[in-house]
Symmetry: C2
Subunit: 116 residues, 2 copies
């Protein structure tokens, strides 16, 4: 279940803006703030089933974007590669100033990838 | 006009899979194979105006995805940063084996970004 939550959180980070405002809100309450279906249903004055359906539908939409664009998969691959760059640089002779410069740029790259 | 073509080519690379099959085909003929509206119209047995409308509509869809996800913008930013990593590494003392290893990983990152 934790894995599912993590996956949905990543999919939401990458494709959330492609959902409707209401889908975004409800997913944020469910996955981000960990509210129950019942609590969200009360908030929106709809049935628990309706909330359930909205969430399932939004999840399917997010998964279908991932199937087409694969941004989460690419992000994970890129992160591995950037870590490899960092570990290669760590093997370098003890040139701290240089290492710091490289690490700063790599951090900036990761920031670009995560920024919305 | 060349700039417009380049931009559309990039938008298509990043979001083309989110278009319908027909939109993809027609954009590829127009921007990829440089066919005229008239030639595409003949191919599909529709009016020149219909082809024009399909292209304009598909362009708007691509731009709206870019507005929401900004993948082209991120790609350009990341590419700049990766080039900076490379140029920092070039400043290093003459350790060719190390430079080659890093360049290989950076190339792999760029490949991940461009791959569909």
């Amino acid at each position: 279940m934790i894995e599912k939550f993590e996956r949905m959180a990543m999919l939401f980070d990458f494709y959330g803006k492609l959902l409707t405002a209401r889908q975004q809100e409800i997913l944020l309450l469910y996955y981000g703030q960990d509210l129950s279906l019942g609590e969200i249903a009360e908030e929106y004055r709809v049935s628990r089933q309706a909330v359930h359906d909205i969430i399932r539908r939004a999840e399917k939409i997010l998964e279908s974007f991932e199937e087409k664009l694969g941004l989460v998969k690419k992000f994970i691959l890129e992160k591995e590669k950037l870590e490899k760059v960092l570990s290669l640089i760590d093997e370098l002779e003890n040139n701290q100033a240089f290492k710091q410069k490289i690490k700063k740029v790599i951090d900036e790259i990761v920031e670009i990838q995560q920024n919305d």
